[in-house]
Structure formats: C-alpha cells, structure tokens
Symmetry: C2
Subunit: 472 residues, 2 copies
C-alpha cells in the first residue's frame, strides 16, 4: 500500500491530509521558512503515534512533529518531503494531582487553557509565552519556551517533570516522573528544547504553580531606555526577583497603544512593566523599592494598577505587541537573543544602529529581567531587496549579542533559522558531542532531521560509520 493508504487505514480519511492546500498550511510556522510536506497526520493516542512512526519509516519518510505552528525559528518546518505529525488532537488533560501540584497532559493542550482549567484549584502553569492563547504544551517543550513570567519562575524545563516519548524505533519511553528527584541520567532535560529531534512527545507531566496570594502590577515610564534598564538591574541587585520585568521602547508602545488602547504613555522613550507577587507584606515592600529605584533613575511616571482589570489590560498590551506590529507593515521578523543584563543598553544601541544601517524600522519589546531581547523588524517583503537587508540585519544582531557575552536564542529555539549560527558559539568537538547524543536516540536521523545542529556536526568517528550527511 502507499504511504497515504497506510495512514488512512490507521487513522481514517479525516485525519490524513494530502490536498496541496492543506499541505501548504503545514509547510511553515510563524516565521519565514517554508518546506515540503508529503502528508499531514493527526494521531489521537500514543499507540497511533507508534504506528505512524512505523509506517513513515517503512516508506522511508522522515517525521516532523508539530504543535500549533506558532514557532518562529522554523523548528516545525520540514527540509525534505516529510510526514508532519500534528499533535493538536492529543489535547486531553489526563490527570491532575492537586496535592502534589502536577498534571499529565497531552502535547496538544493549549498553554493558556491548562491554566484556565486548573484555576479552580488555585493553580496555574507558569511559563507564559506571548503566543500562549494558541501555542501548545508540546511545542513549549520542544523549544523550552519562555515568557514574561519566566524571570522568577524559570523557563519550560523547570516546569516539566516528565514525559512519554515515542522514539524513531517506535519505543515508548517514560522520562523523569513525579518523584521529587528521579535518579539516573536526566533524559527529560535533554528532550526539553530538542525540537522533536529525539522523538515525539505524547504525554507531558507538568508542574503546576500555586497562584500567588498577592500580585501588584506597575507601569513605569522613562525618558530613555537606559533609565528603564538601570531600574531593572538595580531591582535585581537589591535581591528582589519580580515575577516579570518587561521593557517596551517608544515605537512599540505607540504601535500597541494604537492597537489595543492599553493606556500606555505615548511620550515615554521606554516603558517598564513590572509585576511583583508573593506574600502581601513583601509585595508592598517590593512595590515601594521599585518605585524608589525608578525615581532615582529619572522615571517620568510610576503607576500601580488600581485593580486586576487594569493589570490585565496592561498585560494585554504587552502580549499584543506582535499583533500590533502586524498592523503596521505587511511582514515582520522577530528576533530572539540573550545578552547579560549589564550590557542591555549598549546592545540595544547597536540594534538601533544595525537597523538604521540597513534602512529598516526596528521596535523593541523584551524580557529585560533576563536580558532576552526581541527586536522586531517590520517591512514589506514584496519590496525588492528588502529580504536581503532583513537577513543581514538579523545576522548582525545575533553576532552583536554573542559578542557581548550573550546567546543565540532565548526561547524561540534554533530550528532552521539559527542552525548554521551554532558554529559561532560551539567548537567542532562540542557540536560533535551533541550530534553523538542525538545519534544515540535516532541513529537513522529521521526525527525532524536537519534541525538545531548544522550540517557536518558529526565530525569525528569512534570506529562506527559516521551518520550520512544530512541534506539541507
């Protein structure tokens, strides 16, 4: 039987997509890469995923797992004709253990829906990417996703206690678990952030966090970005780790205000959105401290949200930033790099210069507390020569971040977009070690091939034949 016929026999015709239009929809994510899709399948159980893997292998096709497709780095975009395994139907919340604050969930559960579901118990799932209304827990695991509230709470890897993984051989592994400190090698930690290259995650054991007894949200306006950044650094230097510390520059504040009317000050060069949470007494003390530091760094206004509604509106403004940009230009390209907090202002200045030099408009909205920059270039891709300038600027921004002691990627993953830049931060032996590790799980290289590691990473040979070079 043909590949498609085998899948139809397994899943039924409604869960196997082969029409060119359907395949096109699954050929890209939220970023700018595009790839060839052979067929899209929608399994609903672990057993079906095992069968899907075996059918794909039998017919010689690689597999690309996919959540909601909100990724920006091409992690779920195939590079060779592939079976795209859409996990969005595996969206059950299987089991919630309120006493131990854990839940087993399907990879297709939407991030914000998990927290909405557990709100009745006073619990929530902490990592909150800006795409949380659409992105899935499985996608969050694949990219080790972050979010504004990961400053105090840590990124996805801190909140994933275990998972069920279907390997390239169709084995079903249980990695990690609910026990407080599972013994043995930390395979769970390796799989989080591996972008589907170790297998397909079919169930996830998440840690749920208790809702804080008190939360205050502050909106602080500054005449320059340096004042906002210094307030962030000094707050953390005082030993206070707020729940979130987000900075928006003038252009993005205007774009957002125009889009959602969040009440942001249009005359500010930078706006700092700060949230503190915890014990009510500590929260009150921390609000005072941040207000003092902001005043010392020349804040032109310091506001504390009067109620939950106002705080929610400010957060809506922050999280709508990318939507706001989409209203301003036909296309946009969102970067994701990390720099040491102490060099934020300097690297931001470089980002503005790079944009100027390439005749591009750049807006900045970023997780200031952990130095995670998100410069956004807005442009019209139809205009001749624009894409080349966007690419030049992107590479220059990454290089500037790395040169400042930073990192390639904060939370969006490596995917295709930054794969070839891995060589700028890893030596050949380091990349080879990563490639060996991956090969231990997927010797044939069929699980989301060509992602994360650049071509030729497997440079040394331990007496076994080297993996066939990947096609990219």
């Amino acid at each position: 039987m043909s590949l498609t016929a085998d899948f139809v026999a397994l899943l039924g015709i409604e869960r196997v997509k082969t029409h060119p239009l359907e395949r096109h929809v699954y050929s890209r994510d939220g970023g700018i890469s595009l790839g060839p899709v052979e067929v899209v399948v929608h399994p609903e159980t672990t057993e079906e995923v095992v069968d899907v893997v075996q059918i794909a292998r039998r017919h010689g096709f690689p597999l690309v797992p996919r959540g909601a497709g909100t990724g920006l780095a091409g992690g779920a975009v195939p590079t060779q004709p592939a079976v795209v395994v859409a996990l969005t139907r595996m969206n059950q919340i299987h089991e919630i253990d309120v006493a131990s604050r854990t839940a087993w969930v399907g990879p297709g559960v939407i991030n914000v829906e998990l927290s909405q579901h557990t709100a009745r118990y006073g619990l929530h799932y902490a990592p909150d990417p800006s795409s949380q209304a659409a992105c899935t827990i499985g996608g969050n695991v694949a990219t080790n996703a972050g979010g504004p509230h990961c400053l105090a709470d840590g990124t996805t890897v801190v909140h994933i206690l275990g998972m069920e993984l279907v390997t390239a051989e169709g084995e079903v592994l249980i990695l990690g678990g609910a026990a407080p400190d599972p013994p043995g090698l930390d395979l769970r930690g390796i799989v989080v952030g591996s972008e589907g290259t170790f297998g397909i995650v079919t169930r996830v054991l998440v840690r749920l966090s208790e809702d804080a007894p008190a939360t205050r949200t502050m909106l602080l306006a500054f005449g320059d970005t340096a004042g906002a950044a210094a307030t962030v650094s000094d707050t953390i230097a005082e030993g206070v780790i707020p729940a979130a510390l987000e900075i928006m520059d003038r252009l993005i504040v205007r774009a957002v205000e125009n889009f959602v009317q969040a009440g942001f000050p249009l005359d500010a060069a930078a706006v700092l959105l700060a949230e503190v949470s915890g014990h009510p007494v500590a929260v009150a003390a921390e609000v005072d401290l941040i207000a003092d530091l902001a005043a010392r760094h020349g804040a032109s206004s310091v506001r504390v949200a009067a109620d939950e509604a106002e705080a929610a509106l400010w957060w809506k403004g922050r999280k709508a930033a990318f939507g706001a940009v989409a209203q301003m230009a036909p296309d946009y390209y969102l970067h994701d790099t990390v720099v040491p907090r102490s060099r934020l202002v300097e690297v931001l200045q470089t980002v503005y210069e790079i944009a100027d030099r390439n005749d591009l408009m750049v807006m900045n909205v970023f997780h200031a507390g952990d130095g995670n920059l998100h410069p956004i270039m807005a442009f019209d891709a139809e205009e001749p020569g624009t894409m080349a300038r966007v690419k030049t600027a992107a590479d220059a921004i990454v290089a500037a971040s790395v040169a400042a002691g930073g990192s390639l990627s904060g939370e969006h993953g490596i995917g295709l977009e930054k794969r070839d830049l891995m060589k700028t931060v890893f030596s050949p032996v380091d990349l080879d070690a990563q490639a060996r590790l991956r090969e231990a799980f997927d010797p044939a290289g069929v699980m989301n091939p060509d992602k994360i590691l650049p071509t030729g990473s497997r440079c040394l040979d331990y007496g076994r034949p080297a993996a066939a070079p990947v096609v990219s």
Copy 2:
C-alpha cells in the same frame, strides 16, 4: 613502559601512588563499598588529565575520577582494577566575575572554601551538603549534591552553568557557558549527576548567589514528628519557601546535643530548624507566619536565634549530626531517599518499624522541605549477622519510599549502592535509553564503569553490536 612508569614520566613520582596502603585509602569512599585500585594519580592541569586518560586507555585500564571521597553510595569506588584520578590538586579558583556572579573553578575546590573566598563580594555558592567542609565542587557535580539550603535554591544542577570535560577519547569539551541560555542540547545537565561516567570534569563554571539582605533562623520543638511535618507542609502551602526546613528526631537531637552542645531541647520528639531569608520586611512576616503555624500544630517551643552566633551554633548542630552518630556506635549507614512531603510522617513511621523489625537503632535527620529522608542506622559491624540486617533494612526503606511515590536517591547518587535498585523505578526501555546515551560518550565503557546503570541495561540493539556486558 609499564602503566606506572608512564604515569611517573608524566606526573613525577610524588603524584603517582602505588603503595598498598596508599591504594587502600583510595579503595573506598565514606560508604561501605570497597574496590580494587591499580594506581592513584594526581593531575594538576587539563592537559595532564588528557594524558592520564590516554595512558590508562593504552594499558587497558578503566578510569575512576575522585574528589574528596566523602561520597556515601560507592560512586568513586572501583569495581575492577582501575586508575583512580584524584582531582584534589586541581583546586584553583581560576576566575571570578563579580558583575555576572559566576566563577570558573577547578573540580578540587572545597565547597565551603569557595563561599569563604567569595564572601568579600557578598556572594556565596548556594548548595551546602553537610560534608561541605571537606567535599569538592567536582564531587558535588558528579552526584548533583544537595544540602539544607537547596530547598529554596535548588540542587547543584541549578548552580552549574558550564564545565570543561575530558572524554574517554581524550577530547576536551566545553559544555554550557556563562551566556544566559546557551543554545543546543543540554549536555551540561546530563553530566551533572552522572558520577564520572561521561568523562572527567576539569573546570566548572559555577553560579554565585548574592548573600541575602536579611536572614532569621528558628528552632521549633514539637511533641511529635507529625506536628513538625505539618508545620513544614503548611508553610509551603502558604506560598512561603524558606531557605531551609530541617527536621531532627529525638534520638538524633540527643546525639547531637551530647556531641556539640548546640542548645537543642532534649525533651522534644522532633526539632524543626527553619531559616528564612530575603528582604527584611518579608523575612519578619515569614517568621511570624511559621511561628503561628507551629503553634497551631502544637509546638512546645518557638525560638528565633538572637544573633548570627546562635544561628551558626544551631547549624553546626545540624551539620554535625553524622559526626555525632559516629560517637555512638562504631559504624553507621546513612540512607538517602525522597518521598512526597504529604507522606513524610507515614514513611517515617514505616522506617521506625523496619528498624525495629531488624533490631537496629535508627535516627532521622532530614531535609523536610523537599521530602529528602536521611535515616541513619548506627551499629557494630563486627557483631555477627549485623551487616545482613542493615542491608535488609536499607532495601526495605528504599522500597517503602518508592512505594509512597518517592525516589531512590535525593542527593547522594546511585553509585554502586543503589545501582541494582534502578530496575525498581525504570523499565528496560528506559534503562536502555540511558545506556545508549552513555554509550554515545564512552563507547568502550572505560569511564567509571559499572556505576549507576545495572548490568544488562543495554538490552536492545539498533543494528550495532551491543556493548560488552559490564563486570560487576
């Protein structure tokens, strides 16, 4: 040349130990296992470690890296004639970056000496095993060591940002790094806790933590263990994570008091040592909260340390617990399991019953906040039949912890002691995945062989010859 001659040519005679007495010293750790040592070498540089690995390989000997030998699970005890690589001379603090709060240190640096050295900058290294006055950072990395203050701060893996690793092939890898979120696969996380089975760590990049602006230490006495445990659970349920929450039962309190005169109440069935730290206002509020909860759970006394000297004395008492036991009986055996906080009291009761049934004295001192039990059996190994009863009781305690939803090991590692118990918590495919991972780094199985994974873990074959069965 012979193995020894090659080592002497490389390191000089003073750094190569072959005398039977010297080899005997390195044939065991702080636990009860004993193994064969061919030779002990003391390299001082990464280059020397590379040469040591190559010489050992050439002569067909496996390598066992070793820090201070304070381990309790046999992780540094050879199972076959081996080259023991003592890393205690690699004890330089290479570089401290005060602004980014990191330091590159040698694996032989003693835990407490690192914090003493960085105190001048208001910084410390957070994980504080009870053996911190002797144990090394390298050993802490090998076992993913914990300590009382890991409740709020996390275990070793949270504080290790990167490392230099010499592999079985003599490659030098840099894993992780100072950048806020290094891209790529998390090899750093895999190596922490791998007990030297991936290679020899020759430099470690540690995260330094800022000293808290305020700290208060509390000593609470209870008429039963349940009251102490309930105070711990309720404190955490209130959203407060103290810096440390340690419980000691009646027998250990008496042993300690007899040993160091820490001022512990001799009439209490259980003593809770609680420490809160952070912003002064929050600390004061948290002290009040814990005192209230303790009173509600029947505390017979609640004391707050009057000054740093009193707090230090209480901590000395807590950390001297194992020394105190050594005064009471010629031998002791210290367990290390983890149970969910909600089942602490029940599992403790089972531990007392197991000790009774096996005619052994048991004392308990443990990290209550994260459910990490440390029952200590004190006995005289010379007494016929005793060791068999100790072993029976140990296995029963581990089984009871796992049955309650807990884990084999909290912070001491798997080593030899719990290697065969790994089968009780991992399925054959799970163990095979761990074995594959290890094989990717050490295909010949020469790096601390026979540790962590039980014999026959590599049960499946992916078309490559299976690893030769390990000898145990």
